[in-house]
Every structure is written in structure tokens, then in C-alpha cells.
Amino acid sequence: MKLNKKSLMVVIVLIGVSALLIWAFMGGRREMAKEQEREQPVKAPSRVSIVDGESVVTLSRTEELKSGIAVAPLQPVSHQAEIKAYGTVMELQNLVDLYNSYVSAKAQVKKTEASLDASRREYERLKPLHENNRNISDKTFQAAEAAWRSNEADAHAAQAAVHAIEATLRQRWGVVIAGWLIEKSPAFARLIQQQEVLLQTTLPPDTHLASAPRTAMVQTADSKLVSAKLVSRSPHTDPRIQGMGFFYVASTQPGLLPGMNVIVYLQAGSRYQGVVVPAPAVVWQQGKAWVYVQKGTGQFIRREISTETPVKDGWFVLKGITAGDRIVVKGSQLLMSEESRSQIQVGD
């Protein structure tokens, strides 16, 4: 009995010790599990789902606020493309010289025409006399004929000289300006009198326009913007730039002196209705541009946008998103990062 009691005690103590050991083990394990969890990177469950083939990032209101994501509605914008072209204020001396030549050629035509008229009449007067029993000598008649023929040739030559100058004018300055000159248009007078300046405007090398806009804005050397009227297509390009050229006229300014190079802004193409996506809203991935559109509370859908039409501080977009869409303007990269967060290694 005594022995039994003793063994019972031993057994009880053993059981107690084992229980204590196991209890301590469990406690230690819990502590270790916690510690192990603390060593793991903080990886929140993914907030990305695929809805109708589009990836959607869903954030709670707190998450949205804490990460500082800002959303703004898109405003409708009508847009016409604007091209930045290079303008040169033309030196008009050549034009004036041509004008002078033209005027004297014209005078020469008149002079030769007068001589021709006189000699033709002389010839016509002498001709019946000569035919009627040779009242005048053959010599006199032939001299009159020669004078007439010579004057006729002179008149042709003078006319040809005028045509040549006209052709030069058209070649060098275009049909319109040549026309002004020929017709002595007031527009030409304004140029000559330096009330207006002529701008040769060259488009950037790889830009093409079917027709140039009627008006353009010119940035003068003193950084003022003045409007300019289209004159015509330029018959030649600026050899430095190798783009399409146009002539514009603008009123004379202190910052628009002959020889100056200026920047000309041309509105081109049709006017479209669309939206302007601000640059901070756009993220690039896999070679494409994307924005995040907010749908419902805390749901952000990634949409591809076209970046064919860059505008100041963003892109003009016609398709994919519309006015009134609420897009993420701050924190787009964060949403994009959320989509591939599972692949991000941290702390390695």
C-alpha cells in the first residue's frame, strides 16, 4: 500500500511535469508563431479582381483616404490640334527689287507698244501709196515695214520680260503675293509701307497639312502673341527645316523685324469634342497608357487611353473615357502597383 501510494505520487508528479512541459511548449509555440509572423513581410490580401475582362482595384474608404488617392471628374473640352511652326520675318528687299523691275518692264511694254503703234500706222499709210502705182519708193516702204516689224518684236520682247518677272515673282513669292504686286493691291502697299510684315512659316519637318489655317498666332521676339493672316502656300521651304511652308502677314511690331526667327502657332484640323486627361493621371505599362476610372465607391477600373494627341499638361482623348468620368489624378501609380503587388519583393 505504501509502495502504491509512493508510485501513485511519482506517477502524479510525472503527469504534472509532462502537462507543464506540454503547456509551456504550446505557449512557446504560440509566441514563436507570432514572432515568425512578425518577421514576414506585411502583405495585405490582394485588392484586385477581374470584372468583365477589366481589372478592378477595390479600396475601402479609409484605405483610399490614407493613401491620398484623389479623384476628379473629367470636363468636356473641344480641341483643335495646334502645330508649333518656325517663322522667319521676311526681308522684302528682293520683292521690292522685283517690283521695280516689273514696273520698268511694264513701262518698256508701253513704250514698245507706242512705237509699234506709230510704226504700224506709218506702214499702213505707206502701204496703199506703194501699192497705188508705187507713189512711194520701194525703199521707203520697206523701211517702214522693217520699222514696224522691229517695233513688233520689241513689243513682244518687252511683254516677255514682264511675263518673266511675273513668273519670277510667282516662283519666289507665290501666286497671291505676285497677284498683289501685279494688281497693285493695297495689301502689297501695306507691306511696302512696313505697316505689315510677311512671315515665312515652316511646319516641323514631319508635319503635313492639307490647307493652312486662315489665321495663326505669332510669338514675337518680346514674347507677345499677335495674330497673323494666311497669305498663301510658300513656293519653297526653309532649307534648314525642310517642312511645308506658308506665308502669313502680321501687323508690324517691335518684336517682328525682318530677319527675326519666331514661333508661329497654327490651329490645324477639325475641332473635336472630348476630354483632356491630365498628365498626372496617366500611367504607362506594357507600352500602353492607362488611367483609373472610379466606378462606385472605392472601385477603380483601369482603362487604356490613346496618347496620339498630346496637349499642354496632358492628352486629349476621344475614346474610352467620357466627360463626367471620375478619374484618379493622384495615386494612379499606387493602384497600378497594387495590381502587381503579389510579385513585389520587399526587403530582400
Binding site: F25, R38, P205, R240, T307, R341
Partner: protein, 1040 residues
């Protein structure tokens, strides 16, 4: 030899005591001058080469910079591994040398190779630099600067040219990495429309800018009397002067730099950014030199900062001097460690007094402790080790043995002196003390060497573990050897001096008496039921072994540093601006929690910084308020909860030292790593995906990962050769123009006092803001015609690589996975088979299996081999001592049971076998071995020298005589370690805590074994013969 030493010490006891006083004094002096740290230098000899390659893409950096450097480095003797990464604008190569090689020589050899390659790198790539040699932990202080008054550029200029310069002059500082602010540059921001207007190209601007900032020396004039120096001035020094530099004369007027560009002070394109407490600022990371004393350097840096403070505040700069101060943790850790040691020492003294019950003998025994430990400290200091938690831990576990050495001596001398007094013709005290010392000494010498040998596996451990724990082993062995020396010299001398002529107490100390009175019947009881006892022991051992499967390995415990480093990573390609924006939000949320004192963020990288981070990566230095361990743990949970609320980024929370150690582990922590080597990056990616697919279908695979981050947005400009030719361009000119426009071209430097600023030519910011701008970049051919870049090149967006990794100078892609629920070896075999069957690798591509599992297996094998060698050594040593195979076997058979207590202790603390715990087992092994040896030797001594016949009486007498020393050693060791075990999680005790727990647990079983089981076994199986019959026993051997 022992006789000579002991008799010399006795004869010249005065000298010995004087010497020991000097030793103690010098030891204290060394202690006050010692280098303190948390850990020993744990980093392997490593050389990091960073090469800045501004503007180059990862692939270009890899091919043009990394590969040539690797080729030149490869073949340097002693390289263990060569890894590299190439990211946008930077190549970084890590060369790891064989442990034990001289780091200075390694650096010298690498430097020689680098000097030959520098000239061969592409234009614009800076010379490769080795990052300064720093201590393993590197950072000694992180400090921040912010200002409401100054611009970011002014702040950075102050940081670079005032603060950094001052700190670099502090002795012990290796480098200062500066993050954030704006690096001042004189920028010539070219406006393309103006170039066209004036008919100029970007090259013209570059050439003129280069000339405008040029500096030329002028020589001197020698006349009969003097040498007169010439100095030329005229270099443009201000933006205004630069702007007036004429590029070309046109129509009688000069076109100046100012006409085609804005010339101004502007920030360099940034590679990093920083914020302090959520406000943009500058963060300076100060690193200590290799082997420097962290505490001392910290103090000196702080002194320097104190000197700077008035100037800084006069300029309106706020200084945050303690964003991160590792010295805090070192101080706390060392203080905790020291208090544990002191508390332990105090307990030891009490135990000795109780057991010996004699002030004199206790004093003699206690003297051994400081003498041995101080000797060990001096030796450690001479060997270049710092005093750290591990060396102090080594000293702590040595206390027991140190005391034991002295006690054995003192006890025996006391006993022999007493006996001598009792005889009629007492021999001279000198002779008695000499004989008594020598009588026990040889066994102690062998036991000490055996214990030292036990530590061989610890000393030869490979990798970081080895570098961390071998100083502990060395400290332990040095302390034990020093204690042996003390026991041979000082202890006998003191005994002779103090006990030699005095009347000696005849009575045994009451504690010993009391214990012996209870021990005898217990021992007799055990000896009467040998079967039951042995059965019980076997059962108990089996129970302990049964707990083994529940024990898992772990490398490092959680360190309570009072500081967290929070890593934040977004997808590659995220801008610095966005990283900082989110960082500000994170900072404010973190500061709302009550535990956090300060938060500083740095994103991206800095020149020569330790970490290579992209603009998408941030690190937050989160400093906690002083708090208890419990609070620190809940602080971490709170921080995790806060961080989990931020979308788009992943966070990891680490402590500084853990991170540093993990960094030196190099490579992935997954248990299986498949490295795929090859030349074609795309093919590597594809094969990696195939392999990952196969792996994830193999049973047991978990966390299959391809180790390459997602792509980063990239814009490709691919020149069309025909167009380039047709339009009269030279391809390189086009590429140069693009580089100048978008990266900027440094054309010279401008000096302002001792400060130097770069002058660079770059496109005006408004012209390089959007993707559309690049196509419109005007280029001018030699004939003077302008074309836009898009007329010469295809420009398209795509997704590019963030980083190209190399291993052993070859391209590598890694697939990692863990294995759950099955044997790793069989998993690896199956994976190898299936991959071999299903993935076809083209020529030149090959696989390599590796990973933590392989590394662990290798280190386990090493450990096993070293343990076997140590075991053989111990057996040989024991065989010399015992010359009796049975007794030898008795000593060995007992060991498993002794360790069972340790196993159960590990089990009870959660079953995590850390390396600390492993070292605990080694120590335990040593203590048990020593006690067993002493017990068996004592039996041999009783039988062979004192002539007792072997039987229960001799066994009980021998055991009772060893009772006090064994109990004393055990309780001294236990009590010495108790403070460590109790405060196991506290700062500084994290590593030794588990070790102490193992030793405490093991001491219980080991002591029970030595006192109860060993005598019983010895009685049954031991073989002790009298000297006359057959001379046996180590004692005779050494004495003769």
C-alpha cells in the same frame, strides 16, 4: 612541467601575487578601454564595387559596365562568390572572399584589377569605386536636417559641404551617405526652339559650355632671384557670366548661351530622396570604419554635431541627431549583459560562502573569477575581438568551470593540510600544498583540454553563425585556460599564504554536512535498485528523444533593438515623387501610434550607400520610445496593422541588426533555389516561368516564386539606319544629343571656395516632361538642317527589365520555393527529374539547384565532421587519462542522459533550437564531461593511490567527496546564467537567453546523473584496481 610551475609559484608566491595584482589592474584598464559592440564582426570579407553609369539602361549597364568589370575581377585568388546587379544608371558587384582571408589584401588585389579596367569603360561612365570598408553593422548614426527657411538645394549644399565634410573628419568614420534634398548644379537648360531660331545644335552649346568652364594652369616665371607663380582667371563663375558666353557671331551680333538656354542653379536629376517626420529634408547615414569602436565613434560624431549645431541653427536648419542610434542598443545590451554577469557573480560568491563556510577559502576561490575573466578579456582584446554580447556570454558560461578549478584545488589543499596537521610529524606546508595541488591537477588539466575540444565544432562553424559564435567559443576557452593557469599558480600560492600557517577548522562546512547526510542514503538507495534506476534513465532519455521531432531550427532570435527599419516597395518604375508622397502618408499614420518617437524616410539610393534601392523602394527609420519588451511587441503588431492599410505597396519590418546579418547571408532564404544560367534574358525568363509551373505541381511545393521583379515602363528609341544616313547624321551624335537632352552632360566644374559644383547641359524641364516631347527633339545635321528625332528613330513604349542579375559573371534567373510536408532531398530529386524531362534547355543554358536547404545540409555536414574530429580527440585524451576502456565508456554513456534536460528545456520553451541553444548543448556537454571525468578520476585516485578497495563504500565515499564541488559548479553555473535565462527576451540577452535555458535544463539532469547514476554505474561496470596490482590512472602518469 606542472610540478615545476606549481613549485615555482609556491616558492615565489609574493611575485605571483604581485603579478596577479598587476594583471588584474591591467585587465581593469583594458576593460575600460575595450571596444564594445553587440555582435562580433560577422560579415565575410567582401568587396563591393559600385559604378555609376548615368543614363544607361539595365541591359546596357550589364553589357557595357558590369560584364567587363566582372571579367577583370574574375580569377582573383580567393574569390568565393561573385554576384552583381545592373539597374538603371548603376552597376553593383559584390565579391565575397574566402573567410579568413585578409580583407585589406583582397581589396588591394581587386583595386589593382579595377585600375586596368577604368579606362576601357564607355564614355560617360564614372570610374568603378570600391565602397569604403565599413564595420559589419556599418551605420553608427543616422541624422536628419530639415529647414523651413532654406530651399532643398541650399539644405543639401549645407549637408554635403558642411555637415558631411565635418563628419568625415571624425576618426573612425568611413563614409557618410547623403539622401534627399537637391544636389546643386549649374545647369544650362537648352530650349530647342531657340536652337532652331539661331541655327545652332545642342553640340555647339556643349562645346562652348565646356570651354567657358575650363580651367588651365599657367606655370611660373623664374628670374635670378625669385620664382613667380602665374595664375589665370577668367573662367565663368556665376550663371550670369556663363549666360553671357558667346556661342557664335551672327549678323554682327553675338548669340550667347543665355539666348538659347536658361542658365541657372538647378537640381541634378535625383537618385534618392528623404523626409524627416514627414517633411522633406536630408538624411545622412554615417558609417564606421572596419573594426572601429561603435560607441566611441558615435560619441565623437555627436561631439562634432554639437559643434555644428550653432551654425546650423543660425542658418535656420533643424538638426535631428538621433534618427537612428545603434549605440543605444549596444549600451542597453551590454548593460543588460553586464548586469547579468554581475548578478551572477554576486550569486556565485554567496554560493561559495555557503558551501565553504569559510571566508578565506571562499576568498581564494573567488579571486580566480576576476583573474581568469580579466585575463580572457585581455587576450580577446589582443586578438582584436570586441566585448560583445557573445564574448560576454562565453565568459558567463565559463564562470562555473573557473570556480570549479579553484574549488577543486582549494578543497584538496585544505583536506591535505588538515590531514597533515593530524599526523605527528607534519610535513612542511609548502610540500603539502604542492602535493595536494598536483594530486588533482592532472585530471583537471585533461578535463579542461577535453572541454576546450568540445568547443572545436563551435570554433569551426562556417558562415555567419561561425563568425558570430566562434568569439563566444574563444572567450570560453580563453577563460577556462586562464583559470587553469590561475589554479596552477595563484590559487596554490594564495592557499599557502593564507591557509599554510593558520589553525584550520576541522569541522566540515554545515551546508556540505547537511547535503552529505542526505546524499548518502539517496545514493545507497539508488545503488540498491540499479535496474530500476537504469531503466528509469533509459525511459527518461527516450522521452527526451521523443521531444526531438517537435524541435525546429531557427537562426536568429528576434532582437529588441528599440528601432525598426520598415521597407516599402512598390512596383518598379514608381517615381521618387510618388514614393515620397505615399511615404509622407505612411509617416503621419505611424506617428499617430503612441509608441513611435521618430520616423524618417529615404527612397532611392545615394552614392556609395550600402543599399541599392530603386526609386520604388523606401526605407523608414522608425525609432521607438523607451518601452518594455511586451510593449515593443505590441508596437510591432500596431505598426503592421497601420501598414496593411496602404494599397499598392508591400512592407517588411526588420530590426537593424537582423537585417544586416540577413544581408551577409547573401542569396535567397527559400529552402530550394533553382538558378538558371544562360545568355538570352528573355529565354531565361521564359524557362524560369516553365520551371516555376512544373515546380508548383510537384507535391510539397509551397511559395513558388520567380525572383525577378515586374517590368518597369521603358521608352525605346531605335534609330533607323537608313534615315540616319539619308539625312546626313552620325548615329553616335544622335545618341549623344539624346543623352545630353535627357540625362544631362557634365561639362565642367565651378569652384566656390572649397565647394565644387558641376556644370551641366540638359534640355529645359518643360521640354522633357512628357513622352511626346522626345519625338520632337530637334537635331541638326552638319549641313545645318533640322530634323525631329522621330524622323530618325522609332520611338515606342514598352516594358523593360528593372534589374539584370549575375552570379559568377553569368546571367542568372532564379526560381525559389519552400517545401512543406515532405523530405527536401526527395523533393529536389523529383524536381530535377521532372524539369529534366519536360524543360528543354538550349545550348549554353544550364540549371543549378541550391538554396538554404543545401547550405544548411552543407553546414550540418561540416558540423558533423568537426564534431567527430573533436569527439575522437576527446576520446584519445580520455584514453590517455584513464587507460581503461570501461571507465572511458562509462564517461561517454552518460552524456546522452545529461543532454536530455537541455532537450526538455528547449521543448518547454517552444521547441526552437537556435544556434544559441546549440552552443548551450555544447557547453552542457563540456560540463558533464568534466564532472564525469573528475568523478571517475577521483575513484581511480581513491583506489589506486589511497588504497581503498573498490566497492559500495569506496563509491559512496568518492561520490560524497565530489558532491560539494559538483553541486557548487552546477549551482554557480546555474546561478550565473539564471539572470540571463529569466530576462531571455531582453535587449542583449536574445541570443544567450536560449543558451542559458538549455544549460539550466541540462544542469539538472547532468548533476543528477553525475551524483546518482554515475556512481551506481561505476560500481556495477567500472574497473578500478589498486596501484600495486596494476598501475592505472592518469595521476601516476603525470606525477612520475
Amino acid at each position: 612541467m606542472l610540478t615545476a610551475i606549481v613549485s615555482f609559484s609556491l616558492r615565489f608566491r609574493g611575485v605571483i601575487i604581485a603579478l596577479s595584482c598587476i594583471l588584474a589592474g591591467y585587465g581593469l584598464y583594458t576593460l575600460s578601454q575595450a571596444k564594445y559592440d553587440v555582435f562580433p564582426e560577422f560579415a565575410p570579407p567582401q568587396v563591393v564595387i559600385q559604378t555609376e553609369a548615368p543614363g544607361l539602361s539595365p541591359e546596357q549597364v550589364e553589357a557595357l559596365v558590369t560584364q567587363p568589370i566582372e571579367n577583370s575581377i574574375n580569377g582573383v585568388p580567393g574569390i568565393e562568390s561573385l554576384r552583381s546587379g545592373s539597374i538603371q544608371g548603376l552597376s553593383f558587384i559584390t565579391v565575397t572572399f574566402h573567410p579568413g582571408s585578409d580583407i585589406y589584401r583582397d581589396r588591394q588585389v581587386v583595386s589593382e584589377r579595377l585600375s586596368t579596367i577604368a579606362g576601357k569603360l564607355p564614355q560617360g561612365v564614372k570610374a568603378p569605386v570600391m565602397t569604403p570598408l565599413t564595420s559589419s553593422t556599418s551605420v553608427v548614426l543616422a541624422l536628419g536636417l530639415t529647414s523651413d527657411k532654406l530651399s532643398p538645394m541650399e539644405l543639401r549644399t549645407i549637408a554635403d559641404w558642411t555637415v558631411k565634410q565635418r563628419l568625415l573628419s571624425v576618426p573612425g568614420v568611413a563614409k557618410v551617405a547623403v539622401f534627399g534634398g537637391e544636389v546643386k548644379q549649374f545647369q544650362i537648360q537648352v530650349r530647342p526652339d531657340r536652337l532652331i531660331k539661331y541655327n545652332l545644335g545642342i553640340g555647339d552649346v556643349l562645346a562652348v559650355a565646356r570651354r567657358a568652364t575650363g580651367i588651365r594652369g599657367a606655370g611660373f616665371i623664374d628670374d635670378q632671384n625669385q620664382r613667380i607663380m602665374l595664375q589665370t582667371e577668367g573662367q565663368s563663375l556665376t550663371p550670369q557670366q556663363l549666360a553671357q558666353t558667346v556661342i557664335v557671331h551672327q549678323n554682327g551680333a553675338g548669340v550667347t548661351l543665355g539666348d538659347v538656354a536658361r542658365v541657372l542653379e538647378a537640381p541634378e536629376p535625383p537618385i534618392g530622396a528623404a523626409a524627416i517626420m514627414g517633411h522633406p529634408g536630408v538624411l545622412l547615414m554615417v558609417s564606421a570604419q572596419y573594426g572601429a569602436n561603435t560607441l566611441e565613434v558615435t560619441q565623437k560624431v555627436e561631439q562634432a554635431l554639437k559643434g555644428l549645431r550653432p551654425t546650423l541653427s543660425a542658418q535656420g536648419v533643424a538638426l535631428y541627431p538621433d534618427i537612428f542610434r545603434p549605440a543605444n542598443f549596444i549600451l542597453t545590451a551590454i548593460r543588460n549583459m553586464e548586469s547579468s554577469l554581475l548578478m551572477g557573480a554576486g550569486l556565485v560568491v554567496i554560493v561559495l560562502l555557503l558551501f565553504l563556510f569559510n571566508l578565506r577559502t571562499a576568498a581564494i576561490s573567488v579571486t580566480a573569477i576576476p583573474l581568469s575573466l580579466l585575463t580572457a578579456v585581455m587576450v580577446l582584446e589582443r586578438l582584436g575581438f570586441s566585448l560583445n554580447t557573445l564574448t560576454l556570454g562565453g565568459l558567463a558560461i565559463a564562470i562555473g568551470e573557473v570556480v570549479d578549478d579553484a574549488i577543486i584545488d582549494v578543497e584538496n589543499i585544505l583536506r591535505r593540510l588538515r590531514e597533515n596537521r593530524r599526523i605527528e610529524n607534519p610535513r612542511p606546508a609548502f610540500r603539502v600544498v604542492l602535493d595536494a595541488s598536483l594530486e588533482v591537477r592532472s585530471a583537471v588539466v585533461y578535463a579542461t583540454f577535453a572541454v576546450a575540444m568540445v568547443f572545436i565544432p563551435v570554433l569551426t562553424m562556417t558562415g555567419v553563425a561561425g563568425r558570430l559564435f566562434s568569439p563566444l567559443g574563444i572567450a570560453y576557452i580563453t577563460a577556462v585556460l586562464a583559470s587553469l593557469l590561475v589554479a596552477l599558480t595563484v590559487t596554490p600560492a594564495l592557499c599557502l599564504l593564507i591557509l599554510g600557517r593558520r589553525a584550520l577548522q576541522e569541522k566540515e562546512p554545515p551546508v556540505a554536512q547537511w547535503l552529505k547526510a542526505r546524499y548518502r542514503p539517496l545514493l545507497l538507495g539508488v545503488e540498491q535498485h540499479p535496474g530500476a534506476v537504469i531503466g528509469g534513465v533509459v525511459l527518461f532519455t527516450i522521452a527526451g528523444l521523443a521531444a526531438l521531432p517537435f524541435i525546429g531550427g531557427g537562426f536568429l532570435p528576434e532582437l529588441q533593438e528599440g528601432h525598426f527599419i520598415v521597407h516599402m516597395s512598390a512596383v518598379p518604375g514608381t517615381s521618387l515623387q510618388e514614393s515620397m508622397r505615399l511615404g509622407r502618408q505612411v509617416t503621419f499614420e505611424l506617428l499617430k501610434t503612441p509608441y513611435i518617437r521618430s520616423v524618417a524616410q529615404r527612397a532611392g539610393r545615394a552614392e556609395k550607400a550600402d543599399d541599392i534601392m530603386g526609386t520604388q523602394d523606401s526605407e523608414f527609420e522608425v525609432d521607438l520610445k523607451p518601452m518594455s519588451d511586451q510593449q515593443a511587441e505590441s508596437a510591432q503588431s500596431d505598426i503592421r496593422r497601420v501598414l496593411a492599410q496602404f494599397p499598392g505597396v508591400n512592407f517588411a519590418i526588420k530590426t537593424f541588426l537582423t537585417e544586416r546579418i540577413e544581408e551577409t547571408l547573401s542569396g535567397y532564404t527559400a529552402s530550394v533555389v533553382i538558378n538558371i544560367f544562360g545568355n538570352d534574358l528573355d529565354l531565361l525568363d521564359r524557362k524560369a516561368r516553365e520551371i516555376a509551373g512544373i515546380l508548383s505541381k510537384i507535391p510539397g511545393a509551397a511559395d513558388v516564386n520567380i525572383q525577378s521583379p515586374p517590368g518597369t515602363p521603358q521608352l525605346i528609341v531605335r534609330l533607323r539606319e537608313d534615315d540616319v544616313k539619308r539625312r546626313g547624321f552620325d548615329p553616335v551624335d544622335v545618341l549623344d544629343a539624346i543623352q545630353t537632352a535627357y540625362q544631362g552632360d557634365v561639362v565642367g566644374q565651378i569652384y566656390d571656395g572649397n565647394r565644387v559644383f558641376d556644370v551641366s547641359v540638359i534640355l529645359a524641364p518643360e521640354n522633357r516632361k512628357t513622352i511626346a516631347d522626345i519625338g520632337a527633339l530637334p537635331l541638326r545635321n552638319p549641313a545645318g538642317t533640322y530634323v525631329n528625332l522621330k524622323q530618325l528613330a522609332d520611338i515606342y513604349e514598352t516594358s523593360g527589365r528593372y534589374v539584370v542579375l549575375h552570379q559568377g559573371a553569368g546571367r542568372v534567373q532564379a526560381v525559389t520555393c519552400n517545401v512543406a510536408g515532405r523530405n527536401i532531398n526527395s523533393f529536389v530529386k523529383q524536381a530535377g527529374r521532372e524539369i529534366g524531362a519536360r524543360v528543354s534547355l538550349p545550348a549554353g543554358m544550364y540549371l543549378e539547384f541550391g538554396g538554404a536547404a543545401a547550405a544548411q545540409a552543407r553546414s550540418r555536414r561540416d558540423l558533423l565532421v568537426h564534431s567527430l574530429i573533436a569527439g575522437l580527440g576527446i576520446i584519445m585524451l580520455l584514453s590517455i587519462l584513464m587507460k581503461n576502456a570501461r571507465n572511458l565508456l562509462l564517461v561517454l554513456v552518460n552524456l546522452p542522459f545529461a543532454l536530455v534536460g537541455g532537450v526538455l528545456a528547449v521543448f518547454a520553451s517552444g521547441g526552437l533550437l537556435s544556434i544559441g541553444a546549440l552552443v548551450g548543448f555544447v557547453t552542457l556537454f563540456g560540463i558533464t564531461l568534466r564532472n564525469s571525468i573528475m568523478m571517475i578520476s577521483h575513484y581511480e585516485h581513491l583506489v589506486s593511490i589511497e588504497g581503498l578497495s573498490w566497492g559500495p563504500e569506496a563509491a559512496v565515499r568518492g561520490a560524497s567527496e565530489r558532491l560539494a564541488p559538483i553541486l557548487m559548479t552546477a549551482s554557480v553555473t546555474a546561478l550565473g546564467l539564471l539572470p540571463l535565462a529569466i530576462g531571455s527576451g531582453a535587449p542583449g540577452r536574445e541570443i544567450e537567453g536560449p543558451m542559458a535555458i538549455v544549460i539550466l535544463g541540462g544542469l539538472v539532469t547532468s548533476t543528477a546523473l553525475n551524483l546518482l547514476i554515475l556512481p551506481a554505474l561505476a560500481l556495477r561496470y567500472g574497473k578500478f584496481e589498486k596501484e600495486g596490482e596494476k598501475p592505472i590512472g592518469g595521476l601516476n602518469v603525470t606525477q612520475s
